[in-house]
């Protein structure tokens, strides 16, 4: 058997991982941009509390984050039952739940990268745009957002990479169901737990390394291109 020919189950895990990571990244992006703007630009009551909550997944044991997600977004959870009844959106033991867990775990990384980038934007350029007739929304779309692009790209890649490697919160929240919630890390873990699973575990490990490396290199190229465009 060829080392690189994957079984259907292994393909499932790879495809699911990429899907979960991509959805987690895209879905959390607008929220991350909004929170980053809020933290970078506004002063308000409870700002340090918000900042703390955003960063919690970074310092909590992933299993705790996963358990909290299970309590709130599970079938009987407050938010989970509402979303299931109102929109038919179920998280627990579904791939959507894996995406939610990955989004939450990657969120602080994404917010940090974007926030740093927003703080580096020269607000005097925004003033200049407003004297040229741009209302606040246009100023955001034509000045702030393009100048924040390197940070946004970096944040997206970080979130994606984090999602590709997420294990603890995912397995706690949505378990390890092949074809539904079994991502690369949880699949590798499962193969290491059965006798004779080493070749599979090794193959998936190699794939995991390749995908992560490709993502990091792509981010490097994109960020450099964006950086060149806005270099002062």
């Amino acid at each position: 058997m060829d080392f690189f020919s994957l079984s259907p189950d292994e393909w499932n895990a790879v495809g699911l991982s990429v899907k979960v990571a991509a959805v987690a990244m895209v879905a959390s992006l607008p929220v991350a941009i909004a929170v980053a703007l809020l933290l970078a630009r506004r002063e308000f009551w409870g700002k340090s509390l918000l900042n703390g909550v955003v960063h919690l997944p970074l310092v909590l044991p992933p299993v705790v984050t996963g358990y909290v997600l299970l309590l709130t977004f599970g079938r009987r959870g407050l938010v989970g039952s509402f979303l299931a009844d109102a929109f038919g959106l179920v998280f627990s033991f579904r791939w959507t739940g894996a995406a939610l867990a990955c989004a939450v775990m990657g969120f602080p990384l994404m917010v940090r990268a974007i926030r740093l980038s927003v703080e580096a934007v020269d607000t005097r350029l925004e003033d200049a745009a407003s004297t040229l007739g741009a209302n606040p929304l246009w100023v955001f779309l034509t000045v702030t957002l393009p100048l924040t692009l390197p940070g946004i790209i970096a944040g997206m890649i970080l979130s994606f990479a984090k999602a590709m490697g997420e294990f603890g919160a995912t397995i706690t929240f949505v378990s390890n169901i092949p074809g539904e919630t079994q991502t690369l890390p949880t699949a590798i873990y499962a193969y290491t737990q059965v006798p004779g699973g080493d070749p599979q575990a090794l193959r998936l490990t190699a794939i995991s390394v390749m995908i992560s490396l490709a993502a990091l290199m792509a981010s490097e190229v994109l960020a450099r291109r964006a950086g060149q465009r806005i270099a002062a």
């Binding site: 005097r124 350029l125 407003s130 004297t131 741009a134 209302n135 100023v139 806005i230 002062a232």
Partner: protein
């Protein structure tokens, strides 16, 4: 154009209380650094919300704190050329130029893109990004960008301050051309008298948060004496003159002026070129008889129009020479010894070395 400005605002180190009206083509806000010029211009632009203010342009009230009125900057159509250009770094020169134009309703556009590109000499820069422009080029693009939004009023904040002398001379003629050819009213902030006397039709003279005097440049310049420190030294007269000839052997330029023939050191332009000459009051000597045996090349006969008390030992004598007026600052002692009085015939003596074109 009529601009009416009334601002009361408190900064950390300065109380600002400014009232003025201007109908000038190019109104200079002039005063030393830290006198409140920045606050005034930012309130006009809408980038600063003051404690109390009323700003109106041609009857449109942008700000009136008494009635709670506030027009945000993007609805004012006031162009703003910043000292540091502030071009958008992610856009090309052409995209920068078109940025403000895009937000201006088609019916309100009166400035032609091709004309501005030609006026400011930008055609070879259009595809470049701001990072690849020199300081002078950046400033020209910034001026073009503000013009292309078809502004009702153009604010220029020390647009030359970040440039070296060569670049300043590159920009100054463009400012004159937009003042004279496009006829857009301009408010020009500067602390450099040379720029102001060369460009301005009107001056708002500021010091320590207050307006000291305001009006046409010829009326305000002699009152610089009331200002403090170095500004007082710059008090004097502005004379409109035309280059007649340049003598390269002696390095002297002869000008035709309302005072008569005026000679100054150095080449200042080709024959026929119009320029303004600034004669500092402290550079003018007075005599009651026609002086002879002098090294000074410029002697004008006139009559004393007015004598004003200066501070300390000085008095300011305003002297009519034909239709023109020359200010002289002399000691009170000399004025008494020469028995100067209104209507008395006097001779003003000005060294060719002391006559200079503003902005030089």
């Amino acid at each position: 154009m009529s601009l009416s400005v009334s601002i009361r605002h408190r900064l950390a180190s300065l109380d600002i209380n400014v009232n003025f009206e201007s109908t000038g083509r190019l109104t200079a806000l002039f005063g030393p650094s830290g006198c409140g010029k920045t606050t005034v211009i930012n309130v006009i632009a809408g980038l600063l919300r003051p404690a109390e203010a009323r700003i109106a342009l041609d009857g449109d009230v942008f700000v009136d704190t008494a009635s709670g009125r506030w027009t945000p900057p993007h609805l004012r159509r006031i162009g703003y050329v910043f000292q540091d250009a502030r071009l958008l770094p992610h856009l090309t020169v052409q995209q920068n130029l078109r940025y403000g134009r895009w937000f201006t309703a088609a019916s309100a556009r009166y400035v032609d893109e091709a004309a501005v590109v030609e006026l400011l000499g930008l055609s070879s820069l259009l595809a470049r990004r701001p990072a690849h422009l020199s300081g002078g080029e950046r400033q020209r693009v910034a001026i073009g960008r503000a013009l292309l939004q078809s502004p009702r009023l153009l604010l220029m904040y020390e647009p030359l301050a970040s440039l070296d002398d060569a670049r300043k001379h590159e920009i100054l003629p463009y400012v004159e051309r937009l003042r004279d050819e496009l006829k857009i009213p301009v408010v020009y902030v500067s602390h450099v008298l040379g720029e102001v006397t060369r460009l301005a039709s009107d001056i708002i003279l500021m010091s320590k948060g207050h307006v000291i005097s305001a009006g046409p440049v010829r009326d305000v310049l002699p009152t610089l004496a009331a200002a403090s420190g170095e500004l007082a030294q710059e008090a004097g007269s502005l004379i409109d003159a035309t280059v007649r000839a340049y003598d390269s052997d002696d390095g002297l330029t002869t000008l035709a002026s309302p005072l008569g023939e005026l000679r100054l050191a150095g080449a200042v332009g080709t024959p026929g070129k119009a320029l303004r000459i600034h004669i500092r009051a402290t550079d003018v000597m007075l005599a009651t008889t026609p002086p002879s045996g002098l090294s000074a090349l410029n002697v004008f006969q006139g009559t004393v129009a007015a004598i004003a008390e200066g501070d300390g030992a000085s008095v300011d004598v305003r002297m009519a020479v034909g239709a023109a007026v020359v200010s002289a600052r002399i000691t009170r002692f000399s004025a008494r010894r020469l028995a100067l009085a209104q209507g008395k015939t006097v001779y003003a003596v000005v060294k060719a070395m002391s006559v200079r074109p503003p902005g030089a």
